[in-house]
């Protein structure tokens, strides 16, 4: 699946997780930038206020030396203004007092003979902001200009070492990154949990659908959130409607069978004479009967395959068939023994009855006295129904012929010859297969492979 040129994962959970994680990452990065710049601005403002305070202290110290008219008679360097770093050589903490932009009157001891550059602007932070001081250190410079009575200006520049300031900002940034990283990990986990929790009903639906598909359940059952409930109801409605359609199709097929076969019986029995015309009619009635049986059987099996959620426990089906056979063939005094594992056929009950019924009926018809029915699971999804008898059996060539549609090897025994081919076709529809071989009992051994519920 592709969205534009971007590959979009097929997993809904992964898609939600990735999109949430991407948005979260963008959000955290933007927040990081904003917080860092706010912090940076805040600490710089505080730094600037500190420089401002030092400038004011210098002005204060000088103002005591001015005459009552505000004239500078003889100015001397201001005393220490309470900051030891102004005494420490090349500490980055400097002050400089000039008369106008060009003449320097006094400098702090820390400048040890060097001068600061006054900037054009009379007041404010130097435009190039953080720059290198005389010792190569990063400094931030504040400049203030005060007009004197004699028309001249006193220009005061104060600088501070911004290495600590920058370090503080860098520390804040790295701490913020660690915090955001932990926060991101927590958020990712929270998103994951939220998605898992939020999508759990979807997983339950998916599991319930698999159960329905596998025939373990007839419909989607369980408690679902109100947002999903309409979907569940719709799916259940579809399953019921599907079964209804199949059931109606079966009923119509049954009605069609009845509608066709009764007139065929009348025609067959009206033409029961020995002349050629009667024989021809009788022959055609047999052909019509076989065709009707064949296509009705296929239609019924195909209808069964479209129904989801069909599963049939085999024991009751085989038991009822054996009970019926014992009654139908009671004159033969048959012994029909069964060994049926606990298996659930993945398909329609009628189809299982049809294939098992035809095999057991054939075996009962041909057996001398013994029929063995055995059902065992051979893999997680397949089982084998084996029906053996102690009748005359068949050669390999006869086995091959017997599986052909409508082929009857012995016309003396009642039947249409469709039984085995119906079994084969039904097995094929269920992607199963059938094998015929000689049984150890002496007769025929029919082995039918069919799907089962895992």
């Amino acid at each position: 699946m592709k969205l534009g040129n971007l590959p979009v994962p097929n997993s809904l959970a992964l898609r939600l997780f990735l999109s949430s994680a991407a948005l979260m990452a963008i959000g955290l990065i933007v927040s990081g930038f904003i917080l860092t710049s706010l912090y940076s601005k805040s600490v710089r403002d505080a730094f600037d206020q500190q420089l401002e305070a030092y400038a004011n202290a210098l002005i204060g110290a000088l103002s005591t030396q001015l005459s009552a008219r505000g004239e500078a008679v003889s100015l001397s360097p201001p005393e220490n203004i309470g900051e030891a770093r102004f005494l420490e050589p090349l500490s980055g903490w400097y002050w400089q007092i000039g008369e106008g932009q060009d003449s320097v009157l006094f400098t702090s001891d820390s400048l040890i003979g060097s001068n600061l550059d006054f900037v054009e602007a009379e007041s404010g932070i130097r435009p190039d902001n953080d720059h290198q001081g005389p010792g190569g250190e990063s400094i931030r410079q504040l400049q203030r200009s005060y007009g004197l009575a004699n028309g001249k200006n006193l220009v005061i520049a104060v600088t501070g070492n911004v290495t600590e300031l920058n370090q503080s900002i860098a520390d804040f940034r790295s701490n913020l990154m660690v915090t955001f990283f932990v926060f991101a990990a927590f958020l990712a986990m929270a998103i994951y949990l939220q998605i898992r929790l939020g999508l759990r009903p979807m997983e339950r639906i998916s599991r319930a659908l698999r159960d329905v598909q596998a025939g373990r359940s007839q419909k989607i059952v369980g408690k679902f959130p109100s947002e999903i409930l309409p979907v569940v109801d719709e799916i259940n409605g579809l399953i019921v409607a599907n079964k209804g359609v199949v059931e109606r199709a079966r009923t119509h097929v049954g009605n069609l069978a009845h509608a066709l076969k009764t007139p065929l019986s009348v025609i067959a029995n009206e033409a029961d004479g020995a002349d050629i015309k009667d024989k021809k009619i009788s022959e055609q009635v047999t052909v019509a009967r076989d065709q009707v049986n064949h296509y009705l059987s296929r239609a019924r099996s195909a209808a069964g395959l479209v129904a989801v959620g069909t599963a049939t426990p085999i024991t009751p089906v085989v038991d009822s068939l054996v009970r019926a056979m014992e009654k139908i063939y009671q004159e033969k005094n048959l012994s029909i023994s069964t060994k049926i594992d606990d298996i659930t056929f993945r398909g329609e009950k009628q189809d299982l009855e049809e294939v098992a019924g035809n095999l057991i009926d054939n075996a009962s018809k041909w057996s001398t006295s013994k029929v063995v029915v055995h059902a065992e699971k051979v893999s997680k999804v397949q089982w084998i129904l084996t029906v053996e008898d102690d009748g005359p059996g068949m050669t390999a060539e006869q086995c091959k012929q017997a599986l052909k549609r409508g082929k009857r090897l012995d016309e003396t025994v009642a039947g249409s010859g469709l039984g085995l081919s119906i079994v084969v076709e039904t097995a094929n529809l269920y992607t199963g297969n059938m094998k015929l071989e000689r049984s150890e009992l002496g007769g025929l051994k029919a082995q039918l492979t069919l799907p089962c519920v895992a």
Partner: protein
């Protein structure tokens, strides 16, 4: 032997009745489920040919009702719905055998013959009583290997007696099983047929049990 045919398709009903009568059965017919149920519940039939798809009451319901009411006569189901589920449902409801439509009449006759025989406890198509041999398949009677000529009524009487050898059969039972429901049950026709049979069969084969009826073969 008296048989009930319950089939709603008039032509098929007629064909079945004709074929069964030709085979020596006395046949009553019904064309819907309720009528069939009533007849099967009130008349003593030796067998019933019952269609599954019937108006007013389906064949399976009719059969279940009979079995619930204790009617044990053998029932041969005729079914166009010939899936094993339908057959098993029929057998579980109490049917003794089934014939899928479309069928050839011989198949119905053979199955019915087998059911009647089985119900009377015989396993072969040929029933013997001393020197007398009844071929139910060929509708013939032989004495010591020689064919015996009998009228249809005589054959039916002998057939019923031979199917129930050793049992005392009352005149009423014979009448009920040899004639359809419209027959005048007070007539002495049965005595006439038994008398004729006695003349054609070896002496003492059909014994009169005074006040009770007739018994063929060895006493129980």
């Amino acid at each position: 032997m008296r048989v009930l045919v319950v089939e709603d398709e008039p032509d098929l009903n007629r064909q079945l009745k004709q074929a069964l009568e030709d085979a020596g059965y006395v046949v009553d017919t019904a064309t819907d489920g309720e009528e069939g149920h009533f007849l099967g519940d009130t008349e003593p039939y030796d067998a019933v040919v019952l269609d599954v798809g019937l108006p007013t009451m389906d064949g399976i319901s009719v059969l279940e009702a009979w079995r619930r009411e204790g009617r044990t006569m053998p029932v041969l189901l005729l079914t166009a719905r010939d899936r094993w589920s339908d057959k098993v449902q029929g057998i579980d409801a109490g049917a003794d055998d089934y014939v899928a439509k479309p069928f050839h009449m011989e198949e119905v006759l053979a199955r019915l013959r087998a059911l009647v025989r089985r119900a009377a406890g015989h396993s072969s198509n040929e029933i013997t009583c001393g020197p007398v041999q009844l071929d139910t398949k060929g509708n013939r009677v032989m004495i010591d290997g020689m064919s015996l000529k009998l009228t249809a009524h005589e054959y039916r009487t002998l057939s019923y007696l031979m199917h129930h050898q050793g049992k005392v059969i009352s005149r009423t039972e014979l009448t009920e099983h040899l004639y359809d429901q419209d027959f005048d049950r007070d007539s002495n026709t049965i005595e006439v047929f038994v008398g004729r049979l006695r003349k054609k069969l070896p002496d003492g084969l059909i014994e009169t049990v005074r006040g009770l009826g007739y018994r063929m073969g060895q006493a129980e």
